[in-house]
Each structure stands twice: as C-alpha cells, then as structure tokens.
C-alpha cells in the first residue's frame, strides 16, 4: 500500500474512532500508567457477629430475629462462617387470624421459623472506599455467601441452602458493621421449595488481625 493511502486510512480510522485516537495521543503525551498501591487498612481474622434482623417475606407473620455467628477468614477474600445461629420471634400480621376466622383454615398448615443454624463459605471479591462529604474516607467490602442451613420450624426440622450477599463497612481494625441479605431455600414437605429470606444488620468484632 502506498504511503499516502496508509496516511489516509489512518486518518479515516482516527476519525471513525475519536476516543481511541485521543487515548493514543494521551498515551504518547504521558506514557505509562499509575496505580495507587496501598496496604489494606482493614484485615479480618477471627470474627464474631452479633446482629438483629427480620424475616420479612411471609405474609402471615414477620420474624424479628437475633443472630450470632463466628467466621474465620483464611485470606482477605475468602472466609468460612463456621457457625451461625438465629432465633426468630414471630409476629402475626393479622392475615392468619382473618383466614382462620373467615375461611376456617387449619392453623397447622402455616409454617413458621423458630430458630435456625448454619454454616457458610464467604467470598469477598470487592474492597473499596467512599469519600464521605469530602471529609472522611470509609472503607467497605462486599461479599457473597453460600452455605447450608437447618431450620427449626413449628412443624419440625427442615434442611435448606443459604445464598446471600452482604456489605461490610469498617469502623476501625476491630469493629465493622455488616448488612447481610440471605435467602434460605428450604426443602419442605411435598416436596416443595420454600424461600425464607432474612435481612440482618450486625456488629462484627474482629480479633487477631495483623497490621
């Protein structure tokens, strides 16, 4: 190809992809790339959670729950929530009473969670920071969890799979706050699948983290 045509072709391509051309120009002007490499400010090790939450989905009752858990963090991104236990106090919504009164439905068909226990693997691929009012920097981590749950319901024990996601906001090296949303997929009689979602806000105490 003759040089004039090459130049023309480059011109056409540059016109067609102005952002690419701009990026190339920029990299010629200031070659190289820059990253901020920092030591992680917050690292988890032995974590003890104390939280309160709700079981919000069931139309017949709402569960007000407390939860305690222990998690061991193998690395900054991988952890095992070795144990978690939840106790739920049920509050009727009134719908059950209405059904019983108006339609004579047998109360035993309504399944309620009394407590549950489980264990999960936790993966934290996200770690970041937020500027708060341009005055403070808040560090956070987001994570996904997958594990098994045993639910004690008013009709007996039920096994389940817990799938969840959460967000942790660090206060300091020892204290962080967690927001966990977990869906417990329960295999009930029938067989049928029952979803028991939970939403918890916890205070996490961290022990033994290195600097």
């Amino acid at each position: 190809m003759r040089p004039a045509r090459v130049v023309m072709l480059i011109g056409i391509l540059a016109g067609a992809f102005p952002s690419a051309a701009l990026a190339q120009y920029e990299s010629l002007e200031n070659p190289g790339s820059v990253s901020a490499v920092q030591e992680r400010l917050y690292r988890m090790n032995h974590e003890l959670d104390l939280g309160v939450g709700v079981l919000p989905l069931d139309a017949f009752y709402k569960g007000l729950a407390v939860q305690v858990g222990y998690t061991y963090h193998f690395t900054d991104s991988f952890a095992w929530q070795i144990a978690r236990g939840t106790y739920s106090y049920s509050v009727d919504t009134g719908l059950r009473e209405q059904l019983e009164r108006d339609f004579g439905v047998d109360p035993t068909v309504f399944e309620e969670v009394e407590w549950m226990a489980g264990s999960d693997l936790v993966w934290s691929p996200f770690y970041g920071k937020l500027a708060v009012m341009n005055q403070r920097v808040v560090h956070f981590a987001a994570f996904l969890s997958l594990g098994g749950t045993v639910l004690k319901m008013n009709v007996g024990f039920r096994p389940g799979i817990a799938v969840g996601a959460g967000l942790r906001v660090f206060q300091n090296k020892w204290v962080s706050f967690r927001l966990d949303g977990v869906d417990n997929v329960v295999i009930a009689d029938g067989p049928r699948v029952l979803h028991v979602p939970t939403l918890f806000l916890s205070t996490a105490l961290n022990f033994g983290a290195t600097e």
Partner: protein, 542 residues
C-alpha cells in the same frame, strides 16, 4: 551519573533553603526580620525604643498626654481639634467592668479607654484598665489593638499583678499573625526575667535564646536555654533551634549532627510539625552525604495527620532520592502526587526537570523533551519577566512562591490580618464613639504602613531567590533538550536488543491497588506506583 552535575549544587541549595525555612517554621513564626538587638545581652530598656512609639505616636500618649489629637485616620476628626478628655470618674471603671463581665465588649471598650484617657499612668487601676481594654478588643476581633495594649502593660510594668496575665495573653496572641517587632522582639525578647511565673519565664527565655541565635550570639542563646526546664517543650524546641543553627554554620556535616536531629525527632515533647522538620533535616543531610537509602528511611518516618496532603517539598525530595537510587518508577509515582490539586500552586520547577530525567533514562525521548519544555511553557510569563528585568514582585507565580514560606509568609499574613481588622474596626465606628474609634483608626493605619514596608522588603528578597531557582531549572532544561535531541537521532546498532524489562513488583497479600484515573485521593498521595517499560537498547541502557 547524570551529565547535569549542576543539579547537585542546585538541589543542595534548595535543601539548605528548606532548612532555613525549617528554622523559621520551628521558631513558630517568631523569627524577627530586621531584628537588631544588642550583641552581648538582651536590653530591656531598648524594648521601648523603636516601633511601638512610631506606631502609636498619638496612641501611646492617650494617658500621659491626653491633649494629643487622636484619629488622624479620620479626616473629620483631624479638621476639628478635640476637646481634652475630662478627668475620669473612678466609677467609670466599675461600670466598664460590669459591661465587660456582661460580655458587652462593644460598650466596655470605649469606657475603659475613657478611663485611661482621664487617668494618669500612675493611677493604681491604670494597668487593669489597659488589660481589660485589651481583652475587650481581642473579644471584638481586634487582635493587633489588643496586642498593643498588652505590650504597653509589659513595657510600663506599673502593676506587678497585671503583668503575668498580660504576658500570658500576649503569648497566646503570638500564635496568631502578629507584630513580631512589637511583641517578640521588644517584649519577650527584652524582658527582665527575674520575677516572672515559671511558664512565662520559660517562654521568654526561649524567645530570647532564639533572638540571640538569630543575631549569631550562640553563647547567650545557650545561657537562656540552660535556664529552661529539661522536661519542658521549650527545652526540646530550643535544642532543635540550636541544631539548626549549628547546621547553618557547619562547613561539613558530621554524623553526630544527623544523629542529634534523629534523636530529637523522637522527643515526645516536640510538636508533630517539629518532629517532621527534624526528620526532614535528617533526610536532607543524608541526601547530601549521598546516603539515599538513609534519606528514604527518614522520609518514610515523617508522619502526616490522616488525610493531610503533606508538603510538596517532602515528595519532591523523596522523588530525587529515589531517582538517585535508580527507582525511576517510584520517583515518577511521587511526581504524579505533585500534580495533585493540593500542590497545583506550588512553585516546583525541579518537578518538570526530574520528570524529564526519568523519561530520558527510560529512553522515552519525546516525552522527556515535552516534560522539560513544560517548565518553559508553565513559567513562560515569569521567565519573560526575569529576562525583561521587570519588577519580579509583580509576577504572580513568583510572588505566590515567595509568599508561601518563611518571613514573607508571616509578613503577608500579618498584613492581611491588619486589613481584615481594619475593616472590622469600621463596624464599631458608632459604638466606640469619637475618641476610641479615631485612636484605633490611627493605630491601625500606622501599623498597616509599617507592615506593608516590612512585607515589601521581604518580598523583594524572596522573589529574587525564587527567580534564581527558576533560572537554574530553565538552564537545566536547555541542557536536557540538547542531550535528548542527540539521543533521538542516535543510531541503533545492528542486532541491538531492548533491555530486559524490569520485573514488575507483584501485589502482596496485604496490598490493594486502585488504578489511577486522574482523581486524587489524599490517602493515596504517598502510594502511587508508575509503570512504563524501558525502550532503551542494551548498549544504551543506563
């Protein structure tokens, strides 16, 4: 080794200038420009000699010579001669104190002034009236006027009970922009220290020691410093001042001096700013001795408050140290820091030069040329002003650089304070009446004129220094441009290969990386890591 060996002296000069600035800072903005106390000893009698009399020619005499017309700053007052003040009723002071304790300073101040005008200086409550007038004025935001009356109490010493309080108030005022001659030199620098409470005496000894150091009388300075309690913060600050002075006069830097600075940086009684200054001194001295690793260790120990952007000079000096160690990428990371908005107004011609050196050493010659020429582009107006021999103080960049540190900075701050307080005084025109108001207007007018003179004097000297710095950098740029031009057209030998790229440092387990996209976060400023592969051929690699 860089062919630009002229860099080293230039940098050395910059570092020493930095240390001189450090002295000024460490003296807590109390170094005295134009101070000329006697060589042999502090002279209390000289305290009342010069400037305050000039400043308050009329104001000084409102008690002693009440017939002195006041308020030359007020044309109306100047046109009609004022009636002499009447003799003050002793009840006036009680009424003024009542207003003072009711936090009604606006009404209290003219009453105290009326009492002073109508009473002889020998009146037993004269000093108390001055003291409360000063406090009222301070509460109203007129710190210079407050300082003036407190300084008068300290000079006249008519009431021993008031003196320590006045001195304590003055000590607090010295933390704000203030008249250095009136307060530091003529009060704290010249006090007879025999009967003062220990805290005030320590402060005064420290100040007098500083002044003795300033005029080169180290023996007298040591005499004053020896009287400080070893465990007091003043003693630590005094040690710092002595070390800086020793350094200033040292022909050769020895390790003992470096160790002494290092030891001082660990003194818990020292302020964080002074600790950092000590560490910077260690780093600069180690750099001078070509112990770049040692310099880097000292820089790393400089502690900044959370989210504080830090000092531009710290980053630039660290970048030079890393460059000397061949850590080009780390040095460039620090130069990225210096492009942050926090440092956009900093006057750092060396920054462009170092960037050009780094690109050149990585054989990216066009960016090297561009980086070097960026200096000429950015400082084109200033360079033109220097070449045209125009008034350098008129050049905005040079002026800003000159006003950024040292005595010029303090003089500018004091001038600004006077302007602000002068405007504030206008708000009290009605409340202060036709005697106190014109008197204060005159006081501020005179102080402003003197502050302006001092500022201009210091500014002229400082802009010359900054212009020298810029010219040196511009000269280096010309050399760099020439050398890079040669490199650009250098023939590559047949079969030459690119140098093996330096293995990029992998992230450690406890590290996290945020790719820089032009947005600066203060918590990241010291952590930028630059990546650029070298284009050098093996035979030309440096």
């Amino acid at each position: 080794m860089s062919p630009f060996s002229t860099f080293a002296p230039a940098h050395r000069a910059a570092a020493l200038f930095g240390l001189c600035a450090a002295i000024a800072c460490s003296w807590n903005q109390r170094a005295l420009a134009g101070a000329n106390p006697p060589d042999d000893a502090p002279a209390p009698d000289a305290a009342v000699s010069d400037k305050p009399d000039k400043q308050g020619a009329g104001a000084d005499k409102e008690g002693a010579k009440p017939e002195e017309p006041a308020g030359s700053g007020n044309p109306a007052a100047a046109e009609t001669p004022e009636a002499p003040p009447q003799k003050a009723d002793p009840k006036l002071l009680d009424a003024a104190l009542q207003q003072f304790y009711a936090n009604d300073f606006r009404d209290a101040a003219p009453m105290f002034y009326a009492y002073l005008e109508g009473s002889p200086p020998t009146d037993e409550n004269y000093a108390w009236a001055q003291y409360f007038l000063a406090r009222s004025l301070r509460e109203l935001g007129l710190t210079h006027a407050a300082g003036y009356y407190l300084a008068r109490i300290a000079r006249e010493r008519s009431n021993p009970a008031v003196l320590p309080r006045a001195l304590e108030e003055l000590r607090v005022l010295t933390e704000l922009p203030h008249d250095e001659t009136m307060i530091d030199e003529q009060i704290f620098g010249s006090l007879d220290l025999g009967f003062l409470p220990p805290e005030i005496a320590a402060y005064a000894h420290y100040q007098q020691g500083l002044i003795a150091l300033k005029v080169g009388n180290e023996r007298w300075a040591k005499n004053h410093f020896a009287k400080l309690d070893e465990t007091s913060p003043e003693a630590s600050r005094a040690r710092f001042a002595l070390l800086v002075t020793r350094l200033k006069h040292a022909k050769k830097v020895d390790d003992d001096l470096i160790d002494a600075f290092y030891e001082l940086s660990r003194d818990p009684k020292l302020t964080p700013a002074m600790k950092n200054e000590s560490l910077l001194a260690v780093a600069r001295l180690k750099y001078e001795k070509q112990d770049y690793e040692g310099a880097l260790k000292a820089y790393a120990e400089v502690k900044l408050p959370p989210l504080d952007p830090g000092q531009a000079t710290l980053y630039l000096e660290e970048a030079w140290a890393r460059y000397q160690l061949g850590q080009l990428h780390e040095a460039m990371g620090l130069l990225t820091t210096l492009d942050a908005p926090s440092f956009r107004d900093e006057f750092l011609p060396d920054k462009y030069l170092l960037r050009a050196f780094i690109y050149r050493d990585l054989c990216h010659y066009l960016p090297a040329k561009r980086a070097a020429k960026e200096l000429n582009r950015r400082f084109a107006d200033s360079l033109e002003a220097i070449h045209d021999r125009t008034d350098l103080a008129e050049d905005l960049r040079l002026r800003r650089a000159a006003m950024a540190t040292g005595g010029t900075h303090r003089a500018a701050q004091f001038l600004q304070t006077l302007e602000l307080e002068g405007e504030r005084l206008g708000k009290y025109a009605g409340s202060f009446g036709d005697r106190l108001f014109p008197h204060l207007v005159k006081l501020y007018d005179l102080a402003h004129a003197e502050a302006q003179r001092v500022f201009q004097e210091r500014l002229a000297e400082a802009v010359r220094h900054e212009a020298d710095k810029l010219l040196r950098a511009a000269e280096q740029v010309r050399l760099m441009d020439y050398e890079v031009g040669l490199k650009l057209y250098e023939r590559v030998k047949k079969g030459a290969k690119l140098v093996t790229p330096k293995e990029e440092q992998a992230l450690k387990d406890d590290e996290v990386a945020f790719r820089f996209d032009g947005e600066y976060w203060n918590d990241e400023l010291r952590t930028y890591r630059f990546h650029l592969e070298s284009r050098c051929m093996e035979d030309t690699a440096q």
